[in-house]
């Protein structure tokens, strides 16, 4: 499978230098973006489109804390079993249920301050998971341990998304 880190000339690790990634992404786009080939032949336009799309997708995945972890696990040959393994520590699940109830109440009461507070709580929990994932993957090379944390992180990120959506009803 293709290695997104290699594409940008970066070392594969979870604690990624976001600025270095962004600089590399811009450098790649500067040389392959379809606008650079608007006056070229059809073959070059197609090649530019394919390359540029691939670089954008790799950039999006490396920026996303869940996707980046998933990619590193895949590169290490570990199946994170996101879709099938839904076992979670009981304490984590209980906390999730509490947070969801609090979200439902705040949404029903249209309590913007409470929503903002919940968002901060969830994001803080997500940041703690990210630090722990970096330690598991980059230092301990404990991919199975990381996979469990990534599943929790995915839960938290979805909850944060729901809080954002509650802020702005369509």
């Amino acid at each position: 499978m293709s290695n997104h880190f290699e594409l940008f000339g970066l070392a594969p690790k979870y604690a990624l230098d976001a600025e270095a990634l962004e600089r590399a992404w811009r450098a790649v786009q500067a040389s392959v973006h379809p606008d650079r080939y608007a006056a070229a032949g059809a073959a070059e336009r197609r090649a530019a489109l394919a390359w540029s799309a691939r670089a954008n997708e790799a950039y999006r995945m490396l920026k996303d804390p869940v996707e980046r972890a998933r990619h590193l696990l895949e590169l290490a040959g570990v199946d994170p079993r996101f879709e099938t393994d839904t076992a979670m520590p009981e304490a984590f699940l209980e906390r999730q249920l509490e947070l969801r109830e609090a979200l439902a109440e705040a949404r029903a009461a249209r309590d913007a301050a409470r929503l903002a507070q919940l968002r901060e709580e969830v994001l803080a929990a997500a940041r703690a998971r990210e630090a722990a994932i970096a330690e598991r993957i980059d230092v301990a090379r404990d991919y199975a341990g990381a996979a469990a944390l990534v599943r929790e992180l995915q839960f938290l990120r979805r909850l944060a998304q729901e809080i954002d959506d509650a802020h702005a009803p369509e």
Binding site: V28, A30, G41, E44, A53, R60
Partner: protein
Amino acid sequence: MALLQIAEPEAASGPREPRRAVGIDLGTTNSLVATVCDGVPRALPDEEGRVLLPSIVRYLPGGGVQVGYEAQAHQGDDPKNTIASVKRLMGRGLKDVARSGNAPYDFVDAPGMVQLRTVAGVKSPVEVSAEILRVLRLRAERALGGPLAGAVVTVPAYFDDAQRQATRDAARLAGLEVLRLLNEPTAAAVAYGLENAAEGVYAVFDLGGGTFDFSVLRLARGVFEVLATAGDAALGGDDFDLRIARWALAQAGLGEPAAKDARRLVLAARAAKERLAQQDETPLVCELADGRRLERVLSRATFERLTADLVDRTLAPVARALRDAGLSPADVKGVVMVGGATRMRHVQRAVAEFFGRAPLNDLDPDQVVALGAAMQANVLAGNRPAGEDWLLLDVIPLSLGIETMGGLVERIIPRNSAIPTARAQEFTTFKDGQTAMSIHVVQGERELVADCRSLARFELRGIPPMPAGAARVRVTFQVDADGLLSVSAREKSSGVEASVAVKPSYGLTESDIERMLRDSVEHAREDAQARALAEARVEGERLAAAVRAAIAADGALLAADERAELERLLAHLDAALPGADTAAIRRAADALNRASEPFAARRMDAAVRRALAGRSLADLDV
């Protein structure tokens, strides 16, 4: 200050004619065309010196067409054949149009996109828009002295795939080579950023006649990066006019007006709204068809009260775009105001309050989008030397997904992803022995399919019978730099491959386009074959020049036999170009294109390696 172009002293390519390229702002209320002359972007006027072309098309009995001011003059007396604000109908079905429920036209329900019954027959919004674009193309060709190499046509950033596809089809129908569909706020950011050498995070607040866009961008050294965009594709100055018109009817104790009166009243309302940008109160006068006269005084305070909720509706997308970009209002260095509707005082005030700073109004809100598009067209046409150009990195405004069990949406590409982009996802069968699979592509942010816009449905057949869950169907979504989607799918287990490419259901087919071209009035006057030959030649010459430049720059990437083959096909194309056989030119160009594909891919790989190598060195310098 305008930017002047200064050539590099040792420019290797030598002087050459700049290619004729224009930027077109196809607006709800007005449209215009601009180009870059001697490094300065300027809008092109008509023969009477007017830059704006009202986006109004009138169909006459006998097949004649009036566009612009001529058509505008008949809005009140021939409303059913005089189509205004057609942009609001682009890529929209009868249901969407009926919901806004105020246009006086005879709508015809058609699959995908609504159509209009006129005295000249049933017209699609694509055809109506093409009439406007055709007038602008002819204006530009006259001003620039020859056929155009291409155009950048702007669209609201919040336009979905159906609306973009419709705009592209309209440009094609008008005889334009579309270099790029460019988002309106991004075009405005280019014009503002270059004019003011702006760096940092800027926002563009673009309230046009019928659409609202808000984009957040990071401007830095030759790169315009859109961080997030949001908007409302059915909110604009028109809605403010309607509020005034309804108020006036209620005040006068009148019921639903006839089509002619409705249009006259809206025009009077718009004029009153425009005066209120300067005055505290203004008379609103409208002659009705039966001779009665409606006369009221509208104060700015009343107007602002009537439309306060419309202004509020702009702020929700503003908040969402900022949140998607991970920014707060204080992070934004400046808010550039675009679109005639931003002249309203309460819109200005709402933006100032939200961001805690006065918005930027130093560009002409009617022209800035076209000027930015012209600058981008100039770059895409290759008229600026490398190093003096810039890069636009834009995003997709709405998430793309597919329908899964229970009518739920599985998001495949989230909104605000950088484009172009491509993403593959694997799906499997639900039942034993299942040999076909139905795939439904939708666009939108809601969880239920029913609440999103349906873009395409297609069936993948020929899956070999297998137990449930054993098939592996890989669906690839690709969004190009115009924000247009294409989807392909294939089943890849047991070595059997089935594949299908999707053309969205609302898009025009090749035969539709050909029929419309035949039907168009201008087409009767033009020699279609001569035009096709000229186009094939231009394309062929462009290709030959591009391949020669590629061989000169990166010939080392070719094996001797590959190079010989390219030279042979080049000679073949050269021989075909002067001839009058359009098909032969196209065949020779196609052959060269196919043969140069591996070379193109290798060149791209080499370009990336060079870019990353240069970056590492640059990083060491810091």
